[in-house]
Symmetry: C2
Subunit: 565 residues, 2 copies
């Protein structure tokens, strides 16, 4: 039996468009001789649909789409993810379900058991977990249909009391299917292959794993769907960050024959050490994720052209290079906005970068507008010395220039802030924190440097001067980041401990970091929740990004009021 995996990029809420895409893949698989086709989790509505699931009419529309898919299941079995209404009086109103159709009939529905409710996931907000498990029989084959996190519980998962495959195995299934919407992060690639191996070794069954691909605002789905035989040999792997439909042939005696298409290059082997920040780790995949994140955001929002402030610093340089790769050089507009405190090389470095990338740019000095502001505010400010207010004012003038041009020409402003700045609040609300999408907001400064070197891997694109010079906001004479912050080589590992690992100050200090620095850094992170709360979506590449996956109180006093030192 030939089985197809459809690794597709859906648009959230675009039920008609997603259904058309699903039906096209069914047609393609049927033409290729497939008898069964597998889609990803909640393919019909896109993942994550979030509170759209609370609208009864939205669920009606999903049910209508399922009817169309059922009708298309002529001569082919279809396994597709969609929400299902819970007929029981008790519990959440929906299940996160996988529908199996064949010959225009519903074969059965499997429901997700392990509902992630942590980090970016809110599944318990909407879904009731499965409490009954049955294999679904298709062409004499018993399918153990599971959804995403279901296979991450091997019976000893700390979060989930029920292991669906432990229940299903008693019914002697022939194959394990898994419909996933499993997001990329740089720790996650090796995990996924390992968890499939663990399942196969525990249950001695072959496994087909179909993941979503494509970016949904902040969340990047990287594809990388897999087929493993009952001996845990990798039979087929679909590419990362690409849509495709691929088939495997199943001989019926628990074996697959050779894949009918050449497998893509082996998935990268990343030996990730989660205990500390490894800034060089996973950079090629992070690069791909960021490019896809930009491209899909624009594509799905219906925009083509980006604008960004190009300061001559490394963050805007890397953002610009990524945007040019994602959108095309003619679609990325750089604006160089020197202030009275900008160095001459800032402008020339930024110009050199745009000359190399070939994207259009403008130079718009901010000094005259800055003067106008200072003149108007003179009666209010009186003779108070130049300070943070004047620094932020410059940043907000730049924000206004960028947004004005964006509004005039229909561009979207890309934000260039990195994770280290966002963590410590080293940025200006409505100034350099403005933008529709933050490209580097989940990359620590050390990772931004690694990305710059990666972009320059074949030839120098980002001028080495940009990479080598000391970071500066250039908002007052001779300003350096290091005036306000610890060196990034010290700062970033502490931030990683606090943000990614949720270690408190005592356990960070125990690892050998200076107590005063640790407490200062944590205090900065806590005090700046209010800024991040107003920040745009960040393309997520780590296991703990700022945004929907990190939910901290804005007004909190833990470790903030009274530093212990």
């Amino acid at each position: 039996m030939r089985i197809a995996l459809a690794q597709q990029n859906y648009r959230i809420g675009d039920i008609a468009g997603n259904t058309a895409k699903i039906l096209a893949a069914v047609e393609e698989a049927r033409s290729a001789g497939a008898e069964l086709i597998l889609f990803s989790e909640l393919a019909v509505c896109g993942y994550p649909p979030r509170d759209l699931l609370e609208f009864p009419e939205f669920i009606d529309a999903c049910e209508h789409a399922l009817e169309q898919i059922r009708e298309a299941a002529q001569g082919i079995g279809i396994v597709v993810g969609a929400p299902q209404r819970n007929p029981n009086k008790n519990g959440k109103r929906l299940f996160n379900a996988a529908y199996v159709f064949h010959n225009q009939a519903l074969v059965g529905v499997a429901q997700k058991t392990c509902l992630p409710t942590y980090d970016i996931f809110d599944e318990y907000r909407y879904f009731e977990p499965a409490r009954e498990w049955s294999v679904l029989t298709f062409q004499g084959l018993k399918l153990a249909v599971t959804i995403c996190e279901d296979i991450w519980n091997l019976g000893d998962h700390p979060l989930y009391p029920q292991c669906p495959l432990d229940h299903l195995i008693a019914q002697q299934p022939d194959l394990i299917l898994n419909l996933s919407a499993s997001p990329f992060d740089y720790t996650h690639l090796e995990d996924r292959k390992a968890i499939l191996q663990q399942n196969v070794r525990k249950y001695h069954l072959p496994m087909l794993y179909c993941n979503a691909v494509g970016s949904q605002t902040e969340i990047v789905f990287d594809g990388g769907s897999l087929v493993m035989d009952a001996k845990a040999n990798l039979i087929q792997q679909l590419p990362l960050f690409e849509e495709c439909v691929r088939c495997v042939d199943w001989t019926g005696d628990a074996q697959f024959i050779q894949p009918i298409q050449v497998p893509s290059a082996d998935l990268p082997h990343v030996e990730y050490n989660p205990d500390s920040l490894q800034a060089e780790q996973g950079i090629p995949e992070i690069h791909q994720a960021l490019v896809m994140g930009i491209r899909d955001y624009f594509g799905k929002m219906g925009f083509r052209q980006a604008i960004l402030g190009s300061s001559g610093g490394i963050d805007s340089a890397v953002t610009l290079a990524l945007a040019v790769e994602a959108l095309g050089k003619e679609n990325v507009h750089a604006v160089l906005m020197p202030s009275p405190f900008s160095s001459a090389h800032s402008v020339s470095d930024a110009q050199l970068l745009s000359d190399r990338l070939g994207n259009p740019y403008e130079v718009l000095p901010i000094d005259r507008v800055f003067d106008a502001f200072l003149t108007e505010l003179k009666p209010v400010f009186a003779d108070r010395p130049f300070g943070l207010a004047e620094e932020n004012m410059q940043s907000r003038i730049r924000g206004n220039f960028l947004m004005s041009i964006a509004n005039k020409f229909g561009y979207i402003l890309l934000n260039t802030s990195n994770k280290s700045e966002l963590a410590t609040g080293y940025g200006t609300l409505y100034g350099d924190m403005a933008g529709g999408l933050a490209v580097l907001g989940d990359c620590y400064k050390l990772q931004v440097y690694a990305l710059a070197r990666y972009i320059n891997r074949d030839k120098e694109i980002i001028p080495v001067d940009i990479i080598d010079k000391a970071p500066s906001a250039e908002l007052r004479p001779n300003q350096k980041d290091s005036d306000s912050l610890p060196d990034y080589s010290v700062l970033d590992p502490i931030l990683y401990q606090y943000i990614e690992l949720r270690n408190g100050p005592e356990s960070i200090v125990l690892q050998g970091y200076d107590r005063h620095t640790v407490e200062r850094v944590i205090r900065l992170v806590n005090l700046n929740e209010y800024k991040r709360n107003q920040f745009c979506p960040i393309i997520r590449i780590s296991p703990k990004a700022f945004g929907m996956g990190r939910r901290m109180p804005i007004v909190a006093h833990y470790l903030t009021d009274k530093p212990k030192s």
Copy 2:
């Protein structure tokens, strides 16, 4: 037996401060002869602590605080809410628990069963539900200790499979205790008394309900703690929006004697019809909630002084009046920033308002800075006509003026946007959408009018001209809100259907609204998620506010791409 209820205002994460407050109430109750004192849900760490719960050191600090509270339980029983580590290998790491201490010993711990995971609530993200239930015996009295939502499940709740009191009742308790952190919204006052009555009538037991009070950024806890006897008579009710410790005397034969203090005025009786927007409903309580929301935000952030743009329109007028009430007239700085398109009466109305309120104000025209921007952008904009870019530019110049003054003097910018504008995207990011806290962001325009009339209930504070004139952003000649939006009398009820009730277009149209208008409004709401995603916290007064309680995809295509008309 004398029993005290401590209705207190905690600071999230300030475990030491909250513990000091708890110990002070214990002392006060003991002095008043109380033998038992009841605190609210998660009193030790404040509610909601959100992802602070993921830090092991944070839980350590809570445990340390519980030791101090245990030691203070000398001659008095203490029932207090705090997180508890889950000793089991499976399930979430914590319970949402109530600790009972007496004579420096732990009597027992009750765990919350019904964990709200909807709207602003994320309890399943952190907590495992109780799966065992035991009454806790104190001085021969069997206490059925429940936490918040536990009493909202009377055995037939659609969300929760387990009803804790159904389990506890078999152990023949004498009293039901409930520790709550139940937020205010204008639909909720009557609900709460009704649910206590239903419990008392079902279980024939008296009930003591202790709620938190005080605002936590967006969430307002209104207090209103209650004591009901076994015949559902209201014995004691604590005031709304105020901290206090109150006692009742329990005779031991299932009755309370008269309360030892005069009860506060009867809680308002609000007969709320949830099927449609009732803009006049609950206005006095909304007013109190907004004043407390402002006051606590500033108090807990450690700020004293506010700034806001005073446009001569109704939104800024109501915000200013509320801020003056919350912070004192000398602490609220109004800035009048006329543009070339502002009418003369806008400035004079705003001046009259500040004259009446007695708060300081400045007039800072934006025309010269606006000219400077237009001059710089001339080469970029060329001869394109005046449009949205120039309108937004003015709004962002105001934002920069306000933030510059705020930064210079340490003020916090109050945002004046209302819910109707936020819903439809009728506002400028980084312009009039700037601010640290949105006072009216959960009030539809019709509710803002009702608040203005309420503020003027005894004498005219807000000039009637401000209330009577047609709403306008004044960013181009003769602009009116009604150029861009349906009349608020049409718009607001449609928004309420879509936002509060999660009705889709078909069911809204079925109620008699014009299809074209409904689809246009829903399209605007969906398209502007990206703006609201960058908006500041909004004081929540409705059952569905923008912000943490409404989680919609930013890039979603449901009803947005292809309007059906």
